[in-house]
Amino acid sequence: MGLGLLASRAMRPLRNSHSSVFLRTIVSKPELQSAESSAAAQAPPEPDLPPRTPVGGARIHFPNPEDAIEVFVDGYPVKIPKGMTVLQACEVAGVDIPRFCYHSRLSIAGNCRMCLVEVEKSPKPVASCAMPALPGMKIKTDTPVAKKAREGVMEFLLMNHPLDCPICDQGGECDLQDQSMAFGSDRGRFTEMKRSVVDKNLGPLVKTVMTRCIQCTRCVRFATEVAGVQDLGMLGRGSGEEIGTYVEKLMTSELSGNVIDICPVGALTSKPFAFKARNWELKGTETIDVTDAVGSNIRIDSRGPEVMRIVPRLNEDINEEWISDKTRFCYDGLKRQRLNDPMIRDADGRFKAVTWRDALAVVAEVALQAKPEEIVGIAGRLSDAESMMALKDLLNRMGSNNVWCEGTGTQPSADLRSGYIMNTTISGLEKADVFLLIGTQPRVEAAMVNARIRKTVRANNAKVAYIGPATDFNYDHQHLGTGPETLTELAEGRHPFCSAISNAKNPVIIVGAGLFEREDKDAIFATVEAIAKKHNVIRPDWNGLNVLLLNAAQAAALDLGLVPESTNSIESAKFVYLMGADDVNLDKLPNDAFVVYQGHHGDRGVYRANIILPASAFSEKEGTYVNTEGCTQQTLPAVPTVGDARDDWKIIRALSEVAGLTLPYDSVGGIRTRIRTVAPNLLNVDEREPATFGPSVKPEVTGKMDTTPFKSAVENFYMTDSITRASKIMAQCSAMLLKK
């Protein structure tokens, strides 16, 4: 008996009496041994239907129980809600229908014809992706008719498809390759010449080999529906049909990399990844992205010590299945400008590599000489919660409490969690019908949040209003104003847009974290809260007041209470500990101050540093991050650290020991135990912790808003942190794609 047969016997529900199970003799056919069980075996066989599980764990949600209809897939009854297509019904029934053009997040095109199935009483096979399921429909997916239909479609698709799988980057993860193996014929009858199509230049990210295109139009639909750019389209008819930009034009979307994933063949592939690796030699590590505050779920594909590519991971609550181009293509920055040795600046201003022992001894000596109020610690925008906790603990032991995270401004308020996270949640934005964006440009600050807003605008015609400097959106919006005066008008109810907010069922206000840097931020936030209160934005069942953070470390830093004691501590600092902080303004720092830079890239922060301690990047360490909606997530190490670099928290722990102020933990578990006492929500990984109190408990603010208009928080979408600034691909993108 073969293994397969054994397995199928084990999986099949037992039809025989139980005696044959328990009293099993060592013969292959127990029916022959006992008369009782042989009688049972002769009982009329019921239809052999192995229990089916939905494809990919597909779940169905019945919005309205009366609308459930029953269809039969291969004789197996399934209950589905009305309006589902035949293909979805088959998925629920556990039958995977081959498809090329159908994508669950895009509109239905029905032009590849691969999903043909036989439906009883239908004269022809039907395209299941475009056919709504009707009650009592009898769908047959493995009849000779269906098989022949698929085989024929496959033969037509392969007619004009080049046989260049060995040099194709999609090889190994190609839908056409897989499905032609599974459903195609073993021979073709095509003897003429194959057609060829001119390749299009879509920019520095997407490589096109248009001869391979099978005209599924997934990329066209993605560009128009999700990315919101009208760049791609179909030209021509029949065999002259091709995908392209109408005029020679680059694809200028911050989500353009996703067309690489949705392309079922190798027509659109990643340009930086071209000919670098095969997908079967890569090791995937499921981790999260830190280049913006969204915390997109990604998979880092690495080969040996090298990150080869970054692809998205499905997370319905955060990034669905898309990621931004910055997330996807920043990885070459991880291989450039890396700090790999501890270095000390000599008297003549040159850096010299030293051992960890010497470096830590010097840092500890200087730190212990400085007065407590002269010690300052700044965490960078990519720091993880563990290292920020260690930094804060170390500085507190030295007697200083001047520790903060860059980007949170001079006086961050970490008192109310609702004041700095996205209370509606990213997926909750889909319920909204009016958006008011204050000083934020989600398209560059958080591309995935912008994609969610665009989805909402498309789905339920939500109105979008924007206050801030002129910028381009990929959906209709009203530009209300550029600065705080408009806020005042809205708060006082004088603005015409007030009625739209008041009449909205689920209004959403999104405030940009760029406003944290303003001096009058308390007054601005008070005004925003007044608007929210006036227009009933915060209700028991709906919290529409959101802050959109800018970088990955911010939320965790505020959760951990990284709030500086004094606002101008930099001006009198003698010892500054920069933990990956590159964008902090050090102009006012005294010249005799000693600056320690701990980080992974030789970026802006290095140039003022007296000593460099090399740390690990997000792809090399296990770290906790909180995204802008307050969801805790963890990165996992995909590749080893470079050179002599160490994890951030380990460096600080070692320094504390050298300085004689040993921190009471020496493992990640130890730090997490410490974090539990400060911010227990950071330990509930992959869970979103909502804020407990709304802004109603906030004390009154007596400040006046400055009339200076809001500034844009992100100058260059492609280069926001040390990793992306080191990346060549990002430099190319910003040179070619950003509008001058």
């Binding site: 010590p305 291989k335 003549d348 850096f351 290095v606 470079v642 050179g643």
Partner: protein
């Protein structure tokens, strides 16, 4: 024994010829060295080669002899190394190896035609013990002066600032 056969050679071929041959072989240099051992070895070789046919000379100057009559079968091919003092078997290049070890009857000169032009590397003797700089080191070996760099990242280069 050696003396006796040397005398025999002188008697057979005349003193002049004998000395000319010895001179060619660097005998006098060996004599000046005072190294009697190498002197006697040289003489022995010289005498052994008598009556043998010189089949070929490779590019290092090693001479390959064959003598079919009067020798034991299996000892009828031999090499006289160009290097008289520090010779070793690895000085025989690949093309002559087969002939010398009775693997083939093709001489090295014939087999040289088969050597691939594009990628056939020059023969190199085994230099173990001659010093680290002479020995072969793999591309990743720390002593290889052209050691390959496998690091997959580019480190930040400190530049003088301010």
């Amino acid at each position: 024994m050696a003396m006796k056969s040397a005398l025999k050679a002188i008697r057979e071929r005349g003193l002049g010829t004998f000395f000319r041959e010895l001179k060619e072989e660097g005998f006098l240099r060996a004599l000046l060295d005072g190294n009697l051992m190498s002197l006697s070895l040289l003489l022995q070789t010289k005498l052994h080669n008598r009556g043998a046919t010189l089949v070929g000379v490779d590019k290092f100057g090693n001479k390959y002899y064959e003598k079919l009559e009067g020798t034991q079968f299996g000892r009828h091919r031999w090499v006289e190394y160009a290097e008289k003092s520090r010779y070793n078997a690895s000085q025989v290049p690949a093309e002559w190896h087969g002939w010398l070890h009775f693997i083939t009857d093709h001489t090295g000169d014939e087999l040289l035609m088969l050597k691939p032009k594009r990628y056939g590397v020059e023969h190199k003797e085994n230099l173990s013990g001659e010093g680290e700089e002479y020995i072969y080191h793999s591309k990743g070996h720390a002593l290889n002066p052209w050691q390959r760099d496998w690091s997959r990242y580019q480190p930040w280069q400190p530049t003088k600032t301010e």
